[in-house]
C-alpha cells in the first residue's frame, strides 16, 4: 500500500464497516451477531476498565516480539545480503522455513519454554523474524556494487558505509517487513493467548466471553483486537512515510 491514507479515507472506511456490520446483524438477527449500536458503547466503556487491561497486555506482547525479532533479524539480514557466500549456504534453509506457518511449533515451544509470556512472545517473534530477515537480506543484496564503490571512493570505510549506506538502506526494509507481518503476528497472538494466561485479548474473546455466551462483550474484544492490528499497521505506515520519503514520491 503505497498510496496515501488520509484521515478522511480512514474515517470513510470505518463508517462503511459499521454500516455493513449493522445491515448484517439485522439480516442474521441472532445473538451471535449483535448490532454495533450495542457493541460500540460496551467497547468504549470496556477500554477504560477490564478490556483496556487485556488490550494493553496484548499490545505489550506484540511490541516485545517486534523488538526482539528486529534486533536479531535486521543485522543477520544485512550480513547475509552482503555476504553472498554465506547466503548461498543458508539460503535454501531459509527458503524452506520461510513459508512454513510457524504457529505449528506452538506446542513445541510451550513444552520447551513453558507456557509463559516469554514463550508466547518468542512464537510471534519467530514469525516476524523470518519476514524481516528475508526482506532486509534482499534489500542489502540489491545494493549495487557500483553504489558501494562510489561511496567508498568518497572516503567511506566500513563504519561510514554502515552509517550512510547499510543502515538507511535496511531501515525501510525493516518497516515494510513489520507492516506486512504485523497482521499474522496479531493472529498468532490470538491463538497463543487462549491458553494459560489471565490477560490478553485472545483470552478475553475466547475464555471470558465466547465460552460463557457473552456475545456482545465478545464483540467488544474483537473490536479491541481489530483496533490493535489497525493501530500497529498505521503506526508503522506513518513511520515509513517519514523514514522512506523516496518511496512515496507522488
Amino acid at each position: 500500500m503505497k498510496n496515501k491514507a488520509t484521515f478522511l479515507s480512514t474515517l470513510t472506511g470505518v463508517l462503511m464497516l459499521f454500516a455493513i456490520w449493522e445491515i448484517l446483524s439485522l439480516i442474521v438477527d441472532r445473538p451471535i451477531l449483535p448490532s454495533p449500536v450495542a457493541v460500540v458503547p460496551l467497547f468504549l466503556h470496556g477500554m477504560w476498565g477490564e478490556l483496556g487491561l487485556h488490550f494493553l497486555a496484548s499490545s505489550a506482547r506484540v511490541l516485545a516480539a517486534v523488538i526482539l525479532a528486529t534486533i536479531f533479524a535486521a543485522p543477520l539480514g544485512l550480513l547475509l545480503g552482503q555476504m553472498p557466500k554465506i547466503d548461498r549456504v543458508v539460503g535454501p534453509l531459509i527458503a524452506i522455513i520461510y513459508p512454513i506457518p510457524k504457529i505449528i511449533f506452538l506446542p513445541v515451544i510451550y513444552v520447551l519454554m513453558g507456557i509463559s509470556d516469554f514463550s508466547k512472545i518468542t512464537l510471534i517473534a519467530i514469525i516476524i523474524f523470518f519476514q524481516i530477515l528475508v526482506v532486509v537480506r534482499d534489500e542489502a543484496s540489491g545494493l549495487r556494487k557500483e553504489l558501494i564503490q562510489s561511496v567508498k571512493s568518497l572516503g567511506a570505510g566500513r563504519r561510514a558505509l554502515f552509517r550512510y549506506v547499510y543502515l538507511p538502506a535496511s531501515l525501510p526494509a525493516v518497516l515494510t517487513a513489520l507492516r506486512i507481518s504485523v497482521g499474522t503476528a496479531v493472529a498468532v497472538l490470538f491463538i497463543a493467548e487462549q491458553s494459560l494466561t489471565s490477560y490478553g485479548l485472545g483470552y478475553y474473546i475466547v475464555i471470558e466471553t465466547y465460552q460463557v455466551l457473552l456475545y456482545e462483550e465478545m464483540y467488544a474484544g474483537i473490536m479491541g483486537m481489530g483496533l490493535l492490528g489497525v493501530l500497529l499497521y498505521f503506526g508503522i505506515y506513518s513511520i515509513e512515510r517519514k523514514v522512506s520519503k523516496h518511496l512515496f514520491i507522488q
Partner: protein, 272 residues
C-alpha cells in the same frame, strides 16, 4: 601526478592484463583510456583509485603509494552511484558528511581538510548550479533523468575539491545530445581548473574530445603503454572537421589492428 611502475595485474582465470606496465601522467593533464572491452581499462582506473590492488609493481598518485582509496582522488562511475533514499542535495553533501564523520585523519579525508560549514555550503551550491541542477536539489535520484543524475554524481565528487578526477565511462549510458553536452561541460571544467583527469571510454570520439593524451590498451597483455598525443582535445565544435575525423580514423585503425594481432596470437595458441 600518477605513475605506474612495473605494474602487473591479472584476473582470477589467469589471463594477464598488465605486465611490467609503466606510465606517467603529469599534473594538469587530461587523459583518456580507450580499448576493446575486457582490455583492462576499468581495471587500470580502479588500480589508480585504490579500489583494486596490483599483483606486482607500484601505483603512485601524488608521490604516495596507493593501497586504499585516496581521499583527494575523485571517482565518477558509469552508474551514478547516488543514494536512492537521499535528495540530490543530500547526495552532493555525502562526501562532506563522511569527512566530518571521520575527521581529518588522512585516511578517509585529507589531513589538511578544513571543516567550515559555510564554505562547504557555498561549494555545494556552486557545483550544483555550475552543473545546472541547482533547481533539482530537493528531488530524489529516481525523479531525475540519467544525464541529470550523472551531473549530480559529478557535483558530489567536485564538492570534495579533488586533485585528481577519475571517470569510468561516465557518459556511455546517455543519449548522444546529452552526452555531447556533458563532454562540453567537462571540457570547460578542465580548461578552468586544469585538474588532472583520467577518463575511461569505449567511444572513439569521446576519447578524442576529452583526452589531450590518449592511452590505447590492447585486448592481450599490456606491457608497453601506447600513447597518442591529441591536440584536438576539447575541439567540440570541430567534430565534423576533416582533421577530427582523421584522428578518429587513426584511433580506429589502431584499435582494429590490435584486434587482428590478438586474434592471430590466439590462433597460434599464444596468450589471449
Amino acid at each position: 601526478m600518477i605513475s605506474l611502475e612495473d605494474l602487473s595485474f591479472s584476473h582470477g582465470d589467469g589471463g594477464d592484463i598488465f605486465k611490467n606496465f609503466n606510465l606517467t601522467i603529469e599534473p594538469g593533464e587530461s587523459w583518456t583510456v580507450i580499448g576493446p572491452s575486457g582490455c583492462g581499462k576499468t581495471t587500470l582506473l580502479f588500480l589508480v583509485a585504490g579500489l583494486k590492488k596490483p599483483l606486482g609493481g607500484i601505483v603512485r598518485v601524488g608521490g604516495e603509494k596507493i593501497q586504499r582509496p585516496r581521499p583527494s582522488t575523485g571517482l565518477v562511475l558509469q552508474d551514478h552511484g547516488l543514494l536512492p533514499w537521499a535528495t540530490i542535495y543530500e547526495n552532493t553533501r555525502l562526501g562532506l558528511k563522511i569527512r566530518h564523520y571521520y575527521g581529518a585523519d588522512g585516511k578517509h579525508s585529507p589531513v589538511d581538510v578544513e571543516f567550515d560549514r559555510e564554505k562547504e555550503e557555498d561549494r555545494v551550491h556552486h557545483w550544483l548550479s555550475w552543473l545546472g541542477i541547482d533547481h533539482l536539489k530537493d528531488m530524489y535520484p529516481s525523479q531525475l533523468s540519467r544525464g541529470q543524475r550523472q551531473r549530480a554524481a559529478i557535483a558530489r565528487t567536485l564538492v570534495l575539491e579533488p586533485d585528481l578526477l577519475l571517470m569510468d565511462e561516465p557518459f556511455s549510458a546517455l543519449d548522444a545530445p546529452i552526452r555531447e553536452e556533458l563532454q562540453k561541460v567537462m571540457n570547460s571544467f578542465h580548461k578552468q581548473s586544469r585538474l588532472t583527469s583520467l577518463t575511461v571510454t569505449h567511444d572513439i570520439e569521446e576519447a578524442v574530445v576529452l583526452g589531450e593524451k590518449i592511452l590505447v590498451l590492447s585486448e592481450s597483455c599490456n606491457s608497453q603503454a601506447q600513447v597518442i598525443d591529441n591536440h584536438l582535445f576539447a575541439a567540440m565544435d570541430e567534430r565534423n572537421s576533416p582533421e577530427f575525423r582523421k584522428k578518429c580514423a587513426q584511433l580506429h585503425e589502431i584499435l582494429s589492428g590490435q584486434r587482428q594481432i590478438s586474434r592471430g596470437a590466439l590462433q597460434k595458441g599464444g596468450r589471449g
